[in-house]
Amino acid sequence: MNAALKFLPHEHLKAWLEELAGTMRVLAPQKEGAAVVYRAFDPSREPELIRKPTESAKHILFPRSEALFAFHKKKAPFAPDSLNPDGSQAEKEEPATPAMELTPPEQPGPTVVFGMTGCDAGGVTTFDPVYGGRYQDPYYLQRREATVLIARACNEALSTCFCTWVGGDPANRRDADILATRLENGWLLEPLTERAERVLGSTLLGDAGEAEAREAEALHAKARAAIGEAPDLTGIEDALPALFDDKDFWWSESAACLACGACTYLCPTCHCFTITDEKAGLSGVRLRAWDTCMAALYTLEASGHNPRGQKAARLRNRVGHKFAYFLKNHQGRISCCGCGRCIKSCPSSVDIRRIVLNALKRAKGKEAANG
């Protein structure tokens, strides 16, 4: 038994979050219209801890749009031509270089996210090697360090859930800072990293024992059973590149795609961005905003040529990056956490699971045909 297990009675949940809100930014899923989105915890409302949030939690660490810095261009002082007292032309001063004043954005404050799903936490750890590996991204890393992620274990699976296909688990102990399981009388909180200590000191939390741990395990097992057996995706990182030029395959798989960005913007692992300077006069701000490989502009070259002019090529990139290229760059990690939002929220019901399985099958068939 893990001695550090904590128990939070249901009736203390809001009091605990309110207590944390005294010193930290507390975010939790909240119903808004027909959607469930992350909002600052509001003690007058119940956080939504049953339905899966419509959006992933990635924007908390990687905002939809963030200022990298603000800039202000200071004009060089005007140097008029001047004459010497005798009327001859004075030696001209070199015009001063205009100065650029840069203002960094505010540092992120301590934050805690309560009630993200385990798959969302899996999304965060696919970001880590991208923004904290060979290239250290201070904006992401500062937020990552300042944020405690509390993932809740899932008690059931939606038709679109497939975390177990890609190395996830309904009770995700690999990626979050704390695993929270909703038991009959309260939440069982299991610390997984050192960051967990920042939020588990409250007197509202009691110690949990064997009985609670057993109750949680039974729920986890039930959720695993609900997702069902995961198919074997071995070889997918070779199957997709082998089909790169298979136009028929990608045309057929992308036929229903609308080439919007719902899949990539709801995806916990999609991490592409674009940079623009938004300026008015001499001042402005350099923004980094989400970008999507499903959009034409993503690969549009300055010449006007677009290597991915067709939606088939864009869909191929989305699937290829998640299930082939990322694996090769990051020690076999699949850049998909199986949350299923891209399927659930696709207006055309494009199903990435079907594409991946079809790709495996087709690549095997081709291999057999080629002997």
Binding site: G33, V37, S159, L258, C260, S345, S349, V350
Partner: protein, 325 residues
């Protein structure tokens, strides 16, 4: 939907298959409640075809992609109006599309069913539905082993209860008896018009706050025909900023709605496609009504017509400005 209509539709699709590249229809989606576009090329594909109350997608959005190739399409009344509008704008050639119509009595709103299957305060999700069946005037769904039945009219999409054109307005083949048209008095807009301008602005600010700028609303719209050349993504000129601001998001919605004035056929796909449930269809409803009042025009009824804002007349027959005092 009756089995005999399904059978006759499948037969009609099989009949045209040899003459077209594919036939656009509907098949099953990720769960029993949701359909997905189906691109039928072989008689085996036709076996997977299903129409009726769950066939929500407007497939007309795909037609311009097939320019130069002949395709078939199965349409509800609203879908057929999009096809007609696309033909009238020369984006689809009449001779390149074979239109199969059937009487539509409305489609379900999956979000309404999701809300209706909740237990007490608990909202559930369409993704938990294990079985779904439409029988006459009722919809039965099974969640967590328990079956619940609702009147169809309670879970029908809002656009269907005010549908004036439930039968294809243009078709080569029509299967079944024509369905009865309903009335649209734009009563749904009254609630918003009763708000002061400040209240309305606050309402939209709140709604647009959860917009993720995925542009599913734009791409699901069969008449948003700029596709890869949208103002929203143009860098030169830089019309919209990349800031995550409700101002920019709202700005895009207003551009979208005004570009659709007199062209929108009210298929509702923009709102259905929105992953976060923003009622973006309201903008188009408002503009549609205005286009109707000003020009006496509705898009998508006549393939020969030109929408009022796509032409110029010295004297608009419905606007008697010479009589203005």
């Amino acid at each position: 939907m009756a089995d005999d209509i399904h059978g006759a539709l499948r037969e009609a699709i099989r009949t045209i298959l040899p003459d077209v590249e594919c036939v656009l229809g509907w098949g099953s989606g990720p769960d029993p409640l949701r359909s997905a576009p189906l691109f039928m090329k072989s008689p085996e594909d036709v076996e997977r075809f299903r129409a009726g109350e769950l066939a929500v997608n407007n497939l007309a959005v795909f037609l311009p992609e097939y320019a130069g190739r002949k395709v078939g399409i199965v349409v509800k009344g609203c879908d057929s109006r999009s096809v007609v509008q696309l033909i009238s704008e020369t984006l689809v050639k009449r001779e390149e599309v074979v239109i199969i119509g059937y009487p539509c009595r409305g489609v379900v709103d999956v979000a309404k069913i999701a809300a209706a299957i909740g237990l007490g305060n608990e909202d559930l999700e369409a993704g938990l539905v294990e079985r779904a069946e439409v029988n006459g005037d009722t919809v039965s769904v099974t969640v967590r082993g328990e079956t619940k039945t609702f009147p169809f009219k309670d879970v029908m999409a809002a656009k269907c209860s005010i549908c004036r054109y439930p039968n294809a307005v243009l078709h080569d083949v029509f299967i079944g008896e024509k369905a009865e048209a309903r009335e649209d008095s734009y009563a749904d807009l009254e609630k918003y018009e009763a708000m002061s301008l400040e209240e309305r602005f606050r309402f939209w600010e709140k709604e647009m706050e959860r917009c993720i700028r995925c542009y599913a609303c734009r791409n699901a719209c069969p008449l948003c025909v700029c596709r890869d050349h949208c103002v929203a993504s143009s860098r030169e000129p830089h019309w919209l900023s990349q800031a995550d601001s409700t101002r920019d998001k709202l700005f895009f919605q207003l551009i979208h709605a005004t570009h659709l004035a007199g062209r929108c056929t009210g298929c509702g796909e923009c709102a259905r496609a929105c992953p976060v449930g923003i009622p973006v269809g309201l903008f188009k409803r408002f503009i549609n009504r205005a286009a109707g009042q000003l020009f006496g025009f509705q898009g998508g009824l006549d393939p020969e017509a030109v929408s009022p804002l796509q032409r110029f007349l010295v004297d608009e027959p419905t606007i008697k400005e010479k009589e203005w005092k």
